[in-house]
Subunit: 147 residues, 12 copies
């Protein structure tokens, strides 16, 4: 069974408790549950991981390389500032899909540049929780089309 | 039954005949067929439209306002240059979803700015034909969640 | 009797039906009627033209050269992106006046550069429908002062 | 009777005596007279004020707030450099209309940015003396439409 | 016999009637005739096409792919603003040569960037009508060297 | 007894009467009174000065040099545009503290550069009237620590 | 009793041991003691926290939300590079005050942009240890004025 | 006898009393005396004027037009920020020579752009008091060569 | 008989021996021979000159002024960095034509700015050796049309 | 015996397992062994440290200050984004040498700015594993020359 | 007797023969003669040197160090492009004065940056031949004031 | 025996005689001697070359191609301005190593861009004379690893 790692970047543990005007009222637990349900429907295995520390995210990506078939990642605030995270994704052989909850293009100028995009397969942004679910579908399609 | 309009921007009629290294070998006919199949599965109605003329795309968007529930649009070359297309999407009440076949962030600098993104609900890029299918799913989810 | 051509750029056909917070509730028909009324008062002849297609606007400007004494143009979205429209206005001998319904300087950064301004006689922006009427007055004064 | 204050910025006292290639041969006295005549025609009261000192212009704007219904201002050289003038116009409740004699978009790069535009209702530029007269009309229309 | 398509972009139909200080007094008909004469001398077939509409130029390029050996194109105002035109030239297999009548480097800043140059074989600019004739020679040399 | 000069820049005389959403409802008289009260508490002497004229502010700073121990200055609109004011503060030997009522970093881009900061000891911004009071405390601490 | 959390960013543990020309000779222990003393005087409770790890700072801010009334933060090097830290402050409901020991506007260009400023209530910079004490006062005033 | 007006901009009244590391120890009185002496030697008449107020400098330039043959101006801080001063010099028919005491190219970046240079005949900078004396010589040579 | 000077800039002596992927395998001797042959066909006299030293190229251009009717120049690396070379071409009365072997617009960003273009009659780039031959034709046409 | 600390930044633990086209096939273990061997040859003591966490790298640098004579650091992805790491190196008294495995100047634009360079003694880049060995030599020479 | 070296940069040998609209009709010989005459009057020794080669100018500056008391240099085209020339002037102990014949601030944008200014004592520009004579005076005053 | 060419760029002949604060007191002769000694130790042959003329440096590089195995080059002032030098290094097959005596990243902004870096194998900067010695070692290692 194909294995997908879903990585939540910094501050996503606060989801649903914070700035609900931008991010909605769904919590991270709700998202993880929705991901598990869709995984079951698509017959894949999903693991989730959240950290606020750049280095911990990098460590997790390195470990993923030997165990997972694809990564779905919401790099959150590190999207715009982390070359190290970009290098981590480039350093592993498995494909990564970048997702964002909000439409970053309606927000501050600095949120419109991503260090991650050029090393990801593709991006999905602006659909709230559904960004993750579409990202999981994209990952599964990608992994299966490579078989 | 919900109705979705899928708009293909300039040069997409050449798909599968051109630069296959970047865009793959699928033709526009293939994409449209895949969209129709998924539409049937999701129980929605899909219409497709392609034009190389900015004004014709704008006209079609205006007409769509009274008949469709959502737009999935690949603005292609006009993504980076057309304020008029942006204004057309802003001028109609129905939601738009921006899709791109290639990962524009791996290409020329000028392809990394979109006039469309800020007036779309969200973006999906880099998944080849699948960008359209994920876009259609996103549109359907969006339309249904608003009911 | 002096003849003035009033050109409405892309999306202005949607006026009054769209983003009324920015553009107000007056429709294009209302504007054209107001222009006709003022034309009668000023004893000039006014023709109106609207298109969403850059090329069609250029064609109309070329034709105008032999028949009209001045052009009042709201280039809308093409203001910020069309060198071709600029060249068309520069290519004809009759004076052009650039008008905008909204105060573009209160909007997005990209709306603050106009390719048209340097080839127009002058600009009028921010007065709603009245921008057109002031533009028509300016055109008539200009044409008459040249006699 | 509605009262309009017309403010002339720095160096406009030299009008008609200076750089006539750019600004024409009309003097400030001519303009003020033309404004008075139009005011009579439009049945409003017009006061004129000129100063070369930024602080004096600001003081005059503050005073205007309690006595006038609108301001027509040609900020001249301060257009491009004065945040303090912008703040003065923002600090008073009455609407301001920005006018320029020449078409600033045909001149030096630095003349194409205005600190005033975003706090004015609208702009009129390039019509010589007529910019002021159109500005007065715009002010009167504005004031009357608010009644 | 080799076939070359010569494409004239927006406003070139006004040639000889407009801004003769920049573009000279030769009309488009004169240019086309000169091209036909040189074609006869070089024993190739030349077709000419002019349109002011971006989409029409793109359509014509797509059609050319199956019938012509090379394109000589003066993209005029679209040179600086059209990614769609660039993509159209990239989408067809035949070589394109970019020509300009005037020396664009002596003109406005914005005329010094071309979206077309990177997808053309080469550029010829500044020689008036002769730019087209040199472009035709270059095209013929190119086509013959590939045989 | 230590003497502190508090300088209010342009438009601050309108405080409490203007844009209360940004600046609050406190008037300049209120601020001056609060400053006097705190001065009494801290056992220092406070003088206040307000002008809308750049030159008058400069003159006042020059005079202060021989009489005061420190300056607390809210340069308001001149913060972002006045090299002359910066040079005036650099020209006198006494320390200056820059204060702002609003958090300028939440406002327009141009308000985020200060010509004054590099010649001031420090900055305090965003605390409303309290910015002045904290500024006065900082000035007093500074003056006393130098003894 | 109101509770204030004071957060010291990266390298502040080295204070007094490093670059004393810029930061002075006070150690972090001295600062914390001075904060405690002032807290006692102001009858509030102060907790201090220092970490060199971005993620640890974020975690601490998240925890603070349920226990503290305000945050005083010196983000040090992360001021200029951390969107994640900005998002953390934006994600919690309690007000934050940004303090800096040195006057960053006298230092390198890159130190003059702060990601934190726009989500903080206000900034205090350049007063050495006193920046923290003024920050604590500001926090207390803020918290009390909201009661 | 030819008449030359020497204008000293803002803060120059503080010369010799301020930042002597940059500007030296000569006072404005010393400079004026040296100018008078050289004027006698060159058999011309010199008047000096200093003000810290932009508007006062502009007024003085306007008046000079009818009485003086040339202006030698050290615009000091207004060099870099005053379009109004530039316009004043452009508005009068007599030639202006821009002088600076210090070598501005060794100082802050913002001191390296002058709004005045393009409307002056020439510039002299970096020679301390001698900049004025060389400026006076240049003015005299200029005025005499025009006779 | 008309005389044309062909100038080869720095490193062109290495042609055919270097980076053949970009510049092809033709040597400078081959090019010079092809130029001589075409010169014979066109009945003009061609002299060639190559140097790696900026000053030597300038000296040669100065000398050319009295002897030649036109210059065809490939400024190579000096294209992007030499104002002195630009000034040399501007200083002589004979027309210059700028040629490049490769299509510089497909290469590094810094190769896309030319100091030479604005003082040349026109540019020809991207046709390999043929750039020189087309340049020679253009020069001859130019020289003959001026007779 | 002199002691040198060699710090490996983020993702260097993946060396030899990742992007071997850019970084070669040597692993971090190989590098560390080569460093140990050279250390023996040079009669110094070498300790190695690797972490993916910015804060952990900072902590290690702080500790190093009391024990080591010099630091050789490959900051990897943090080179371009970490002011905190720069401040850590500036905060300790021992010299640092910046090394990079690849020639960063042949890679993405953003890799061409280093926050570290200005606080390091010098840089060595592009020599693969040898960059470290040259860095160690440089460190030893530096430390010995200071004795 | 004090010795001054006057250095003329590239293309100045063409003076009076070239672009007389910008540089006037005086030849280099005329300038050198005028310099000799003034030198006699000021009782100093003047040597002149001209070269079009950057390296030759640098060599001459190096040699000057041991023989001359000051340099007056018109770096012409190398002003804007030569770091090596700047370094040469910085490498010698004698003061340099930068002169320009034309007012560079009225010309192309790229002529408004000088690599030389920051290493020169001062600049004199815009006075035609007189720039050199004023420069010589400045040099003599400087040399004598240092005695 | 392997042969290495060491090239010293402009002004390096002045080393030890100039700006010793930046470059130290070692002369070029000292450096060359140290290089010869190390060459003997490493059993390679070293030739040194210095010139202040860009063209002479290019000529020497061209000649080197047939005789040497590697180049160690300190391009000095030409580092930042010479595309021609870059092209010369790219045009020869042997590897080049870029060295700088000072840490250019601590100096002026313009010294932080190198045209040479992208065509060199690697860079070594900031170690004084040792930069050359490390560069020679790097060259020897490189040449030997290629055998």
């Amino acid at each position: 069974m194909k294995k997908i790692l879903v990585i939540h970047g910094p501050n996503l543990n606060m989801l649903g408790k914070r700035e609900t005007g931008i991010y909605g009222e769904t919590t991270l637990t709700d998202i993880n549950e929705a991901l598990k349900n869709l995984a079951k429907e698509l017959a894949v295995d999903v693991t989730v991981f959240q950290s606020n520390t750049e280095g911990a995210l990098i460590d997790r990506i390195h470990e993923a390389a030997v165990e997972y078939d694809a990564i779905v990642i919401n790099p959150a605030g590190y999207t715009h500032t982390s070359v190290a995270l970009r290098d981590a994704l480039a350093a592993v052989d498995i494909p990564a899909i970048e997702v964002h909850i909000s439409n970053v293009y309606k927000r501050e100028e600095f949120r419109q540049h991503s260090y991650i995009s050029a090393v990801a397969v593709g991006q999905i942004a602006g659909f709230g929780v559904n960004s993750y679910l579409l990202g999981l579908r994209a990952a599964v399609d990608l992994v299966r089309s490579k078989q």
